[in-house]
């Protein structure tokens, strides 16, 4: 049974079908990439899965459990983690940021502090534990975003452009973290604009265009797919 199952998911904004009858599965232990031009519906799809937006139709199941009726916090407790494209850490220290999700699961302060430090160590942020995030670089704040989501101990972690806006050095620093998180046994679903980076980590890639998934396959298959090339070059795609 797939870990995440999305069936016929549809979301309209007025007349625009932002997500149009989308179906796909993600299996345990995969790293699945999601690409597509601006406005293709990638973040909307994440928002539907995490419960921030409500679909007009379709079903979402995580580990066999239907998510449609659950609130965002309940989905998080069910094992769905996510980061946000625009990183806005809480106005508290880095360690306290990571303690927020831990305390939502167990109110024990000392334990949350201890486990928070472990998560920070995994993301090489432990030296910043007592720092206020607003004094940190974008790369560091994006790592906090991942640390926070990872502290929810998700079955599926959805990463929304955790590399965008970073310089090449920072990308080479942050990229291994995605693999490292995966090695912890977390299944990953990742949106990324930087094709090279995405192709380097993903085992399978989904391509979205105008709200629909137009291709799915290994990075090699997808990059040689005619529809994908056309969609990226902005041509009319009547055959796809």
């Amino acid at each position: 049974m797939p870990l995440l199952q999305v069936k016929n998911l549809t979301k309209r904004f007025g007349g625009l079908k932002a997500v149009n009858n989308v179906s796909f599965d993600i299996h345990s232990d995969e790293i699945v990439g999601l690409i597509g031009a601006n406005g293709a519906g990638k973040t909307t799809l994440f928002n539907l899965i995490s419960g921030i937006l409500h679909p007009e139709g379709g079903d979402i199941t995580l580990d066999g459990r239907p998510l449609n009726q659950l609130s965002p916090p309940r989905r998080s407790l069910a094992g769905l983690g996510r980061t946000f494209q625009i990183v806005r850490p809480f106005a508290m220290t880095v360690l306290e940021n990571v303690m927020v999700p831990l305390l939502a699961r167990d109110p024990h302060m000392g334990k949350a502090r201890e486990e928070g430090m472990q998560v920070l160590a995994l993301l090489r942020l432990e030296h910043l534990a007592d720092t206020q995030p607003d004094s940190l670089t974008l790369a560091q704040r994006k790592r906090i975003e991942v640390a926070r989501a990872l502290a929810t101990r998700p079955k599926l972690l959805m990463l929304d452009e955790v590399l965008a806006g970073l310089n090449p050095t920072e990308i080479s620093e942050n990229l291994p973290i995605i693999r490292q998180v995966h090695e912890q046994g977390v299944t990953i679903f990742i949106i990324e604009h930087l094709m090279d980076a995405l192709m380097a980590v993903s085992q399978r890639v989904l391509v979205m265009d105008q709200g629909a998934i137009i291709a799915s396959g290994t990075p090699q298959e997808v990059t040689s797919n005619e529809c994908v090339i056309k969609a990226y070059l902005g041509e009319e795609t009547p055959n796809c």
Binding site: P72, S76, V100, A104, H127, S135, A149, T152, N167
Partner: protein, 331 residues
């Protein structure tokens, strides 16, 4: 200021507060200090939901409900004030539930505006429900001094009651802020969407925060009624006295912090009394003009409140880690 020095300052002030009644027999000064302690308690209780960014301008509602419950039970039914206290808390909590549930969906200023209406409605009910509240005349607490009746000849007992009340509420606020609830409220205040995505039931957190706040405010209300010997709708449900004043104290001292409300109450209570007595007699309402000016100056020049001026010194150190990685690649 270092943490150790602050601790020392706190202990000194506390010791001074305990011995003051032994040396000062000016009724005026004891009364003023008692009002300051009530104000500290009131502002700190008001401040609990503000950890989560929910600012109420309707706390007079809980204050009045508590006070009226204690007074009605005592005056009309002869029930001891010591039973009136928990009863007042219980009814205020009920008020908290009734107010909070429909308002929780509202964000920011909309929540704040809706809370004003709540206290106003209760004031109207207190005026109109004459058989229970004696209308706009209100109820007088009969003067029968003794601990059993929570009524006293001297000012000292209420001085200590209000001091203990202030310390207790500040302590509770401190514990809540540093608990899971406090973390959830603070997370929700800075980024509610992210907090929810991390598994925090932020609506539940706001609800519990408001319940603590309303219950404590009701408790303070009961004590206050026995301190001033009277309940009367325009005082107990006074928007200026018990809804705006705590908010004002909090904003000037520093909202959402532990010491901001304390500092705000200590400064604003005597200032308020002074302005009311001296300016209020020249032209009614002139004291509020000064309030307005103080508020505008604070919000514009020290938006974090007075407490943020003290904070600055201690938080400069933590920025050492800097941002070298961004600069190196840009060449």
């Amino acid at each position: 200021m270092s943490a150790k020095r602050l601790q020392l300052l706190g202990i000194t002030l506390l010791a001074a507060a305990i011995v003051i009644p032994a040396f000062v027999d000016s009724r005026f000064i004891l009364q003023m200090l008692t009002l300051i302690f009530f104000s500290i308690a009131m502002t700190s209780a008001w401040n609990i939901p503000v950890f989560g960014g929910k600012m109420s301008l309707g706390h007079a509602a809980f204050f009045g409900i508590g006070g009226y419950t204690g007074a009605i039970l005592y005056v009309k039914f002869g029930v001891s004030p010591w039973i009136g206290l928990p009863a007042g808390v219980a009814v205020s909590l009920l008020g908290g539930v009734i107010m909070t549930l429909p308002l929780l969906r509202l964000r920011g200023p909309f929540f704040t505006l809706a809370t004003i209406a709540f206290a106003e409605v209760l004031r109207m009910i207190a005026i109109d429900w004459r058989s229970l509240t004696n209308g706009s005349v209100g109820l007088n607490i009969p003067f029968k001094p003794g601990w059993a009746n929570l009524t006293f000849q001297s000012g000292a007992p209420f001085y200590f009651i209000s001091l203990i009340l202030a310390i207790a509420v500040v302590f509770i606020a401190y514990r809540l802020r540093h608990s899971a609830l406090g973390f959830h409220l603070r997370a929700s205040a800075s980024n509610d969407e992210a907090a929810q995505a991390l598994g925090v039931d932020t609506r539940r957190a706001h609800f519990i925060g408001l319940l603590w706040s309303s219950g404590l405010t009701g408790l303070i209300g009961v004590f206050y009624v026995f301190f001033i010997y009277v309940v009367e709708p325009n005082t107990m449900f006074s928007t200026t006295l018990f809804s705006l004043q705590p908010a004002l104290n909090g904003i000037i001292g520093g909202i959402g912090t532990i010491w901001g409300p304390v500092i705000g109450a200590v400064i604003m209570t005597p200032l308020g009394e002074y302005l009311r007595v001296y300016l209020g007699t020249i032209q009614q309402g002139l004291n509020f003009v000064v309030y307005g000016v103080v508020l505008i100056v604070t919000v514009n020049f020290i938006p974090g409140g007075i407490v943020s001026l003290v904070r600055l010194k201690s938080s400069n150190r933590s920025n050492g880690s800097g941002s070298p990685s961004g600069a190196t690649e840009a060449h």
